[in-house]
């Protein structure tokens, strides 16, 4: 499924669902009413968009720190010849939530989320041992803004 396969309702739905589902008894019916479609159609569309990977996820977005957890952004400078091995080693840690290749000497950037703030350092030590590389730990010191919204 590409962007061109999305019809007008799909686009409305993607934009609407980024803002959040109302927490009411029949939430999908409520959004379907707003969009003027049937609840079953809406459920089918969300499922299809998820299967096609247009939506990575649909559900509650939890605030890591308020759940009592640890969260940080970290980076590695990975030698090109070793990139696949290191990628597999890093991704094998369940605490790695996402991991992106970026074009810079620091070419691997990942978010760590742990059960407790204290666990962050243990996971970083584990990644350094598994990869043989030094982890650049860059926890947020101040949050100025977070609001991802991608209109389609």
């Amino acid at each position: 499924m590409t962007l061109d396969d999305l019809d007008a309702i799909d686009r409305l739905l993607i934009n609407r669902l980024q803002d959040g589902l109302p927490l009411v008894a029949r939430p999908y019916a409520a959004v379907a009413d707003e969009l003027g479609i049937a609840e079953g159609d809406l459920l089918y569309r969300i499922e299809r968009l998820r299967e096609a990977g247009v939506l990575s996820r649909f559900g509650p977005m939890y605030h890591a720190e308020r759940l009592g957890g640890g969260l940080t952004l970290a980076a590695l400078a990975v030698p090109e010849a070793d990139f696949e091995r290191v990628s597999e080693a890093v991704n094998a840690f369940p605490e790695v939530a996402h991991n992106y290749r970026r074009e810079h000497e620091l070419n691997m950037w990942f978010v760590l989320a742990t059960e407790t703030p204290e666990r962050i350092n243990a996971v970083i030590d584990g990644i350094e041992t598994a990869t043989g590389l030094s982890v650049y730990n860059m926890p947020k010191e101040e949050e100025f803004h977070v609001r991802l919204h991608l209109p389609v």
Partner: protein, 196 residues
């Protein structure tokens, strides 16, 4: 314990710092709901009832507890997370700036308010290799679009900014809803993950 696939959204106080709720604001029943929904919310007309059957609660209790968690900011929202690339946002630039520490709190807030900036944080430098202390994520349909946005940020930062880079993501190596260690695999995923 954490499950956000995006960095978190926090209440800003008047001084721009972030309030964090007490760690002990979740009880065991809340935790059970978090575990059951971290991979997603069931796509059925009564998702609260479906979650309730997983965790041994009524749908009414699940809904009431999720409303309370949202009111406390533990749940930012129940929403769709789009795949940037699949929506045509193929240029995702992490812009990083070396900003004078004396001005970063004011400038960080100003940059964060610029259209197109999705996340904006102050982070530690790692000198000498990494002098950048302000991070702002930009998303565009082309590198040109991201560079036009970055030019706006550059102008706003002015003389306080010594250097900057745009690090484009070129590959998603991993992207998951996080899994709590010790969670029962699949326990919460039947309704939402079965077709992968």
């Amino acid at each position: 314990m954490s499950v956000s696939t995006c960095p978190s959204e926090s209440r800003q106080r008047a001084d721009g710092r972030t309030d964090v709720a007490p760690v002990n604001s979740l009880d065991e029943r809340d935790r059970a709901i978090v575990l059951a929904t971290q991979v997603g919310l069931p796509l059925v007309p009564d998702p609260w009832g479906a979650v309730g059957r997983e965790v041994g609660m009524s749908g009414e209790e699940v809904l009431a507890r999720m409303q309370a968690m949202q009111a406390r900011g533990v749940i930012r929202r129940v929403a769709a997370v789009p795949n940037h690339y699949r929506l045509g946002y193929v240029a995702n630039g992490m812009t990083v700036w070396d900003v004078d520490d004396a001005h970063i709190d004011r400038l960080g807030r100003e940059v964060a308010a610029i259209e197109g900036v999705s996340h904006c944080y102050r982070r530690p430098r790692h000198l000498p290799h990494w002098p950048y202390n302000l991070f702002a994520m930009l998303h565009g349909r082309s590198a040109d679009e991201v560079e036009r946005q970055a030019a706006v940020l550059r102008e706003r930062l002015g003389e306080a900014c010594r250097d900057h880079r745009i690090l484009y993501s070129s590959r998603i190596l991993k992207k998951t809803g996080l899994r709590l260690a010790g969670a029962q695999p699949g326990a919460a995923s039947k309704d939402t993950e079965r077709r992968g």
